[in-house]
């Protein structure tokens, strides 16, 4: 989980360097201000770092950084 979280925060930092990475439980859209383009870039950066590709239909349930990290951790081999 720790490695997945590190990878996810590093990915977010690369696509949105102005976002506060310590806000793990804030809503990515409403509180951190990401939009669909940011999410797409984040998904691409996560795929690059972890090999986990998040299909578009799962975006809806991934509302926080922690949720994304848990999603990635569950699928990493």
């Amino acid at each position: 989980m720790t490695t997945a979280l590190d990878a996810v925060t590093a990915a977010l930092s690369s696509v949105a360097p102005d976002v506060d990475l310590s806000r793990l439980d804030d809503d990515l859209y409403e509180e951190l201000g990401l939009d669909s383009m940011d999410l797409l870039n984040l998904a691409a950066a996560i795929a690059e770092r972890t090999g986990v590709e998040i299909p578009e239909r799962d975006y809806g349930e991934l509302r926080t950084l922690r949720a994304v990290a848990e999603y990635v951790a569950a699928r990493q081999h």
Binding site: A16, D18, E30, D35, M37
Partner: protein
């Protein structure tokens, strides 16, 4: 003699600051080469040259805010210097303090746009002579450009002794007076917006950094952060590089707010808007995208906003009356379908980079442009040419936005399309039944001086038609 002048990077820009030279004396500059990075009220922009030549002299030091139209660098012509071009002015014309038509920043669109900007004395546009009359100083002995520079540098022109011909006060006179009078300049002009942003993000005090006496760029901040990061520590454990910055009363965000305020107030008071709205069933678009993006790596996904932008561009082909500019009391058709897309920045404010020739590009190309422009608008730097020359604007609130918005036109454009979030809504079907469809609320704002509501209505119908065509 080509000159590189401070360009007008939008109708709301009066002045800018060179924060980085990308060329030096002796460098050959070709069209499209990035010559300098300019800080405007809204962002840092890489500005390219529209002229060919060799850099002979850099005229403006880094960090000094100058008016639009101020010569920044002198170039010597590299092509056949002994043969003057046919458009060279007659000898009676005084040495140009404004650029010749071919030089950077003096393109028709830029100079015309300048002419209707509020501070008309600032750049004075191409062709304005040295004899302009303005407030402050002795207008006969200075040019508008020099007077504006004097204003920026807080130099009283009336007290200056000019060293130019006939006692004329030159730019150099003003700059030297400013250097004598003010050993320290306001610190906010010594730290770029990106540097401020990054400094804030890393808990550094950008104002303290500025006291080093040179321009602090984002790269400086990143270098300091890298230097301060010792292996094995997490971001939270890192010692702060400098004490936390106190709240700054006038940083880049405030300046952007002021720039937006000026443009929008002008747009709202000068442009008689009409708004036409339509609900559009985008079920076909959404279904097609879901299939298209399934099993494809995220890097090649296409977003609905790219489809909407392309459809908006294609609809302009059917309704060209909305594609262009309002200038000098008349509609001027655009030189192409160049669609600006409004990007909201997390730190506040907006940028509107342009997808050029959007109707000629396929969906993947529009998506690639959009992704590149939006990402760089937020994180890095846009080029000056990428925020200039739009003939139409789309503002898309995206998936988490409101249902609809009635936007304000960005002058000198004559129309803007506002798109709300796509949400499932009740929809009367063709056979008289009620269904649920993903619905997009599209609102077209038109300049009533240029067109009437019927044209806006026709545009929305064309947009709806384009969005029903699957396989764009």
């Amino acid at each position: 003699m080509p000159e590189f002048v401070m360009p007008s990077l939008g109708a709301d820009m009066d002045a800018g600051t060179v924060i980085e030279w990308r060329v030096g004396v002796g460098d050959v500059v070709r069209k499209g080469d990035v010559v300098a990075v300019v800080e405007t009220d809204k962002s840092d922009l890489e500005v390219e040259s529209f002229v060919v030549g060799t850099v002979a002299e850099l005229l403006v030091p880094i960090g000094v805010r100058v008016a639009v139209g101020t010569p920044l660098a002198r170039l010597t012509s590299t092509s056949a210097p002994s043969v003057p071009p046919p458009s060279v002015p007659p000898p009676s014309v005084p040495p140009p303090s404004v650029p010749p038509p071919s030089s950077f920043g003096a393109q028709e669109s830029r100079s015309e746009r300048r002419s209707d900007a509020q501070n008309a004395g600032a750049g004075a546009g191409a062709g304005a002579g040295d004899q302009g009359v303005g407030a402050g100083g002795d207008a006969r002995l200075t040019s508008p450009v020099v007077r504006h520079l004097a204003d920026e540098l807080h130099v009283a022109v009336a007290r200056l002794q000019g060293t130019g011909p006939g006692g004329r006060i030159s730019r150099r006179d003003v700059e030297q007076a400013a250097l004598r009078a003010t050993p320290t300049r306001p610190t906010r002009e010594r730290v770029t917006p990106r540097a401020r942003r990054l400094a804030r993000a890393h808990g550094m005090d950008s104002a303290a950094l500025a006291a080093t006496g040179r321009i602090v760029t984002g790269d400086d901040i990143l270098a300091m952060v890298a230097a301060a990061t010792t292996p094995g520590t997490t971001p939270a454990e890192r010692p702060p590089v400098a004490p936390p910055a106190p709240p700054r009363p006038a940083d880049g965000g405030d300046r952007m707010r002021r720039a937006i305020a000026a443009t929008m107030a002008r747009a709202w008071t000068e442009i008689p808007h009409y708004h036409a709205a339509m609900r559009i069933d985008v079920g076909a678009t959404i279904a097609h995208l879901a299939v298209r993006n399934e099993g494809v790596p995220p890097a090649r996904h296409v977003l609905a906003s790219a489809v909407f932008l392309r459809a908006a561009a294609l609809a302009l082909r059917a309704v060209p009356e909305l594609c262009g500019w309002w200038r000098n009391g008349a509609f001027v058709p655009g030189d192409g379908i160049h669609v600006a897309t409004v990007v909201a920045l997390r730190r506040g404010g907006l940028l509107a980079p342009v997808v050029r020739d959007a109707a000629d590009k396929d969906l993947d190309a529009v998506m690639a442009d959009l992704r590149d422009l939006v990402t760089r608008a937020r994180n890095g730097r846009l080029r000056a040419s990428e925020v200039d020359g739009a003939t139409f604007t789309v503002t898309d609130l995206g998936e988490t936005g409101a249902d609809s918005l009635s936007p304000i036109i960005h002058p000198p454009q004559v129309a803007i399309l506002g798109l709300g979030a796509v949400r499932p809504e009740p929809w009367a079907t063709a056979d008289g039944l009620l269904g649920v469809r993903p619905v997009l609320h599209a609102t077209l704002a038109g300049d009533h001086r240029a067109t009437d509501g019927r044209i806006g209505s026709r545009y929305l119908l064309a947009l709806s038609d384009r969005l029903q065509e699957v396989g764009w």
